[in-house]
């Protein structure tokens, strides 16, 4: 019985959210109307010429640097030649030999186990326009004609290619998630798969465990979320193993993931393979990234997800909370400010990633749209640790704070939710209740713990629910112990 190993490499395209396109001054942030952000350059009118966007170069260098890549000293732009109607020049300006960044790595955590995925290269290219196939199904098969919108043509695109180091769909997803975090941390793209600002293609092959030679691989495209990427890879691995175990062989091809049907399907096989005839683009000069430039890129490296995660954990949050905060920039900001005000990190973290997130989701708002500030958050956390609020009361207070009713203390006072934590006052209540139920104390002293709950309940009722139940129980036990 053969044991199979999957060998997976991922290619990721990231749209950089610069102000202008890669090679012309058209805006990257365009509206819905087609062909309104186009010019002679990105429409490839006769006589037009490309000039590279400096900020886009800085962006890709930051990405490469964050992935621990070596930044190439002399890098070149190439033309990748093929005909397709959404590619105005019928060549794409891209890179081939001497890409901007090479030989990097990303540490990826899969179920608590740390693995490393090698990055072969990171290079700069330009996006194509969008084609809409009009016909029966909106898909390319059976289309009658095609409509073209070139607003997206020329948007800066960064391509990140991994070594074939990935061994499972879970690891692929973990890599994708971490890459997304890194890109967002740098701030060059919102990296959203649903919107197409981040796209994944997977190269997948399988081989018997122990075999060094790589199996024939297929390329899987059209995954619109990290979850579908994981599913698609899992499906493809199974499909390939089944074929090989049945004595068949894998056909090298591009396959498309069909989300609805949960399967990959063969792309139309081209009669002949494409020959891109790469040559250095004579309209563009070489890129010279000297030592000083490389230093500037390294100096502006932001705190990357791994570092941030570790810092939050060292402050007292658990791993899960740290992960959630790392993924939610606006919440992380509040977290850090609240900590700076002296609040307990663990508490703040739990409440932020728990109740606050629940509220935001159900109301469908961002935290900036709520009444919650770092100061309020800090105050709430402190009131909880001080015992001024029970967990239940805190939930109500928080909801009110989010809705803009005021600070936690103001809300607690207004709604009379402050917990009684003055031990003298509580003791008085405890004594009063014990007086009313004299035999209860005797039962407790004889080893019966059931009356404790009853007595606590009585005290809570007497204090209108405001006594700190832990303190009440504590006092009762002490009384029982004498």
């Amino acid at each position: 019985m053969t044991e199979w190993e999957a060998v997976i490499g991922l290619e990721t395209h990231v749209e950089l959210q610069t102000n202008s396109k890669m090679f012309c001054g058209c805006p990257v942030d365009f509206g819905d109307e087609p062909n309104t952000a186009v010019c002679p350059v990105c429409l490839a009118l006769p006589g037009a010429l490309p000039v590279p966007n400096e900020q886009a170069i800085e962006g890709i260098l930051s990405i490469g640097e964050a992935l621990d890549c070596t930044l190439t000293e002399n890098s070149l732009f190439y033309r990748k030649n093929y005909f397709y109607p959404d590619l105005p020049k019928n060549y794409q300006i891209s890179q081939y030999t001497f890409p901007l960044c090479v030989d990097g790595r990303v540490d990826v955590d899969v179920d608590g186990e740390s693995t490393t995925v090698g990055i072969t290269r990171v290079h700069m290219e330009e996006d194509t326009g969008k084609s809409t196939h009009v016909g029966q199904s909106g898909r390319i098969h059976g289309a009658e004609h095609t409509l073209l919108d070139f607003n997206r043509a020329g948007v800066p695109l960064v391509e990140i290619v991994t070594e074939p180091d990935i061994r499972s769909p879970e690891q692929a997803r973990a890599y994708g998630t971490e890459l997304q975090r890194i890109v967002r941390a740098i701030g060059v793209s919102d990296a959203r798969l649903e919107e197409g600002s981040m796209r994944f293609d997977a190269n997948i092959s399988v081989r018997p465990v122990g075999e060094e030679k790589l199996g024939t691989r297929t390329e899987v495209k059209n995954v619109n979320s990290l979850r579908s990427m994981q599913r698609a890879i899992a499906f493809e691995i199974t499909r390939q193993v089944e074929i090989l175990e049945g004595g068949g062989s894998i056909h090298q091809e591009t396959r498309h993931w069909d989300e609805a049907k949960g399967m990959t399907r063969s792309g139309r096989t081209k009669e002949e393979s494409e020959d891109y005839r790469y040559f250095q683009d004579p309209d563009l000069l070489p890129l010279h990234i000297d030592g000083a430039w490389r230093d500037r890129v390294a100096a502006r490296r932001p705190e990357l997800p791994t570092a941030k995660r570790e810092r939050y954990m060292s402050l007292g949050t658990d791993r899960r909370t740290a992960d959630l905060l790392v993924d939610a920039g606006d919440l992380a900001g509040l977290f850090e400010e609240a900590i700076a005000l002296g609040a307990d990190a663990r508490n703040v973290g739990i409440w932020l990633t728990g109740e606050v997130v629940r509220y935001l989701r159900s109301e469908g708002v961002d935290v900036a749209d709520t009444g919650l500030t770092a100061a309020s958050l800090a105050e709430l956390a402190t009131m909880i640790s001080d015992g001024d609020l029970s967990a239940t009361a805190a939930k109500d207070v928080l909801a009110a704070v989010l809705a803009g009713e005021g600070t936690p203390r103001e809300v607690a006072v207004a709604r009379d939710l402050l917990q009684m934590s003055d031990s003298t006052a509580i003791e008085a209540e405890v004594l009063a209740v014990l007086d009313e139920h004299p035999d209860a104390l005797a039962k407790i002293q004889s080893g019966d713990t059931k009356p404790i709950g009853f007595l606590v309940g009585q005290v809570m009722r007497a204090t209108g629910g405001k006594a700190d139940p832990r303190m009440v129980q504590d006092l009762i036990r002490r009384r029982a112990d004498g």
Binding site: V28, T36, C39, G135, T146, L147, Q280
Partner: protein, 96 residues
Amino acid sequence: MPVEIDIARVASLARIALTDEELAAYAKQLENILEHAERVQALPTDGVEPTSHPLPMVNAFRPDEAKGSLDHDAALAGAPDTEDGYFRVPKILDES
């Protein structure tokens, strides 16, 4: 050294529809020209860097400023076929 060219493949890569006659004629012409051009192979060029730019310049960039684009009508003005603001072409055979 005679050069043999798969002219049909070349014409397909170049997206030019040629008749068999035309293909044969071009193939012959290309072979003649290439026999002449091939002479470059006689020159020793080990260790010689290729020239892709006559002037030794690097790093020509533009600042990341969004400037005006073409007026929408001007952009579509020369188009052979449009629909609702889109450029329109026949169906595409190959998948991207």
